[in-house]
Symmetry: C2
Subunit: 324 residues, 2 copies
């Protein structure tokens, strides 16, 4: 596995430090570290809080990591986000390579240079933009992926279909496990980010479904898996788009029909505290990306994020509570 990575790394000067989710340490971490002649560190299972970041920074100092050092992150999106964040603040930024091992990380989290760590009141509230020097995904790691983890990735593929790629939406709805979806989703996300790397405009459409999705995660104290939160968030934001008059009832019904297949459950929680902390908030109002057709996010003053009146948002939240 990871033969292309091993060849790539022979060109790197300086120390290499492989940081791996502890659940993958023995299966993938130790053999890969040996092949790469890299030091090996493990992070607690899927943790990316401040304490984990602090512990990782301490470990880098103990290993004498310097500006020539390259960090390699092997794991899901929490691991790749965390390692990328640490790389971005260590000595004003050192190089890192991402090795995503989950469908979510491969099609979404590892792409685009966003880094972040979570705080109890919200996800990724601390973070930077710090692109990796390379990303290698070995799809063999997906063979043992649990169903929930697979759905985390599918939810992002469906989202990408809704905002930018109607055929992708159709194919993912018809045959969610089609392997070719992965490459198309990766390319689709890259295409959007290439047009707007620093998220001043069109890149914001990738936040579709995530305003409500993140609030659902925060309000459930992250007991709701990301994919379920994003799927529910996408449907809710389709409903908002419908209530605002952009999306037809028929199209909305077709979208609802797809999400209904996945046994989703809307948690009875208060989303308002988390929505108040949403990063897209501006001038005190929460903002949403809207779509007006499958495959098309709606521009709004070049920003793609529009404020939504509170009563209308409440109608959507009430509707979702009844719908699942």
């Amino acid at each position: 596995m990871y033969n292309a990575l091993v060849r790539y790394c022979t060109r790197l000067q300086g120390k290499k430090i492989l940081i791996v989710d502890s659940a993958l340490k023995n299966l993938y971490g130790a053999p890969l570290a040996a092949k790469l002649n890299a030091a090996l560190l493990a992070t607690p299972n899927g943790e990316k809080g401040k304490q984990t970041a602090d512990a990782l920074l301490d470990a880098l100092f103990r290993l004498d990591a310097d500006r020539d050092t390259t960090l390699l992150a092997l794991g899901g999106g929490t691991t790749t986000d965390l390692v990328a964040f640490v790389a971005s603040i260590y000595m004003r930024g050192i190089a890192h390579i991402l090795l995503p091992t989950t469908l979510l990380a491969i099609v979404d989290a590892a792409i685009g240079g966003k880094t972040g760590i979570d705080l109890p009141i919200g996800k990724n509230l601390l973070g930077t933009l710090h692109p990796p020097i390379a990303i290698f995904a070995d799809l063999a790691t997906l063979h043992t992926l649990p169903e929930d983890e697979w759905f985390n990735g599918l939810a992002e593929i469906l989202k990408l279909g809704l905002i930018a790629d109607a055929p992708l939406w159709q194919r993912a709805s018809d045959n969610p496990k089609e392997p070719a979806l992965i490459r198309r989703a990766i390319q689709g996300k890259i295409d959007i980010i290439a047009r707007d790397p620093t998220e001043q405009g069109v890149r914001r459409i990738l936040n579709f479904g995530h305003t409500i999705g993140h609030a659902l995660e925060a309000a459930t104290h992250y007991s709701l898996p990301h994919g379920r939160a994003v799927a529910l968030g996408c449907l809710a934001e389709c409903d908002l788009s419908r209530r605002l008059g952009y999306l037809s009832d028929n199209t909305f019904a077709a979208i609802y029909d797809v999400y209904r297949r996945f046994a989703l459950h809307w948690p009875r929680v208060d989303l308002h505290p988390a929505l108040r902390h949403d990063k897209k908030k501006a001038a005190g109002e929460v903002r949403f990306v809207c779509i007006d057709a499958i495959g098309h996010a709606l521009p709004f003053e070049g920003a793609y994020c529009r404020p939504v009146p509170a009563p209308l948002l409440q109608e959507t939240l009430d509707w979702m509570e009844g719908a699942f």
Copy 2:
């Protein structure tokens, strides 16, 4: 005071949060916050460790700071570095304005977008590059500056003279308190950074004197003021330049003569642990900027930082110990 700042801020949308060194809270902080209609936070006196950064981040969340918020940092370099670092990682980067109040911060720390916080084993080991949207210096704040603080700034002005501006060196040697030095030093630093904003090449010459200077600070647990450390570091690195054969004995003697005027004292401490953690280290070797004349730093493979053999470095450290 700060009239230009007040006019500038009327153009800003979103919340403003003024973060001030607690020593300046009553004198400058409270009146300025009132004029700007800004929330006011104070950081412990000149502290910029991780705990201070964490406390500041917590305070920003409590104040509901969002992506439209602008942070303003009023104080010396520790305050401006700290606030800029926090701005760079809060929600992947928010805007900040620097209001340096010390000579060091005005001519050096606030310019160039470097941010950082200190760890017990070294300065600025965590940091980012995140330029402010504006810098305002009101020279009235310098009227009450203690002598040690003034020397902190002078040491950087002398350094800039040594690496890039022989007339500045001469004027600062002859009349260290000449007010016009300030503007010339600011412009000189800006000129270098404009040629290399991300420090891939020529910007590195600004590190002259700081390899040994930072090691002196770390080894004395920061009891040695920055200006004294940098002045001693500059002279030591001039001595290194001489031992490497780049700087003539006569020129070195003239430089030594200037630094001798300032009652410097070389602390008897072991610098090697701190030098091992220097950020410019590469391939295991500590690297130094060298000069070959007053006003001219020596290029080296486009990088301006050259490795120095350990025995030669030791000769310099021994010589410095005898010289002060």
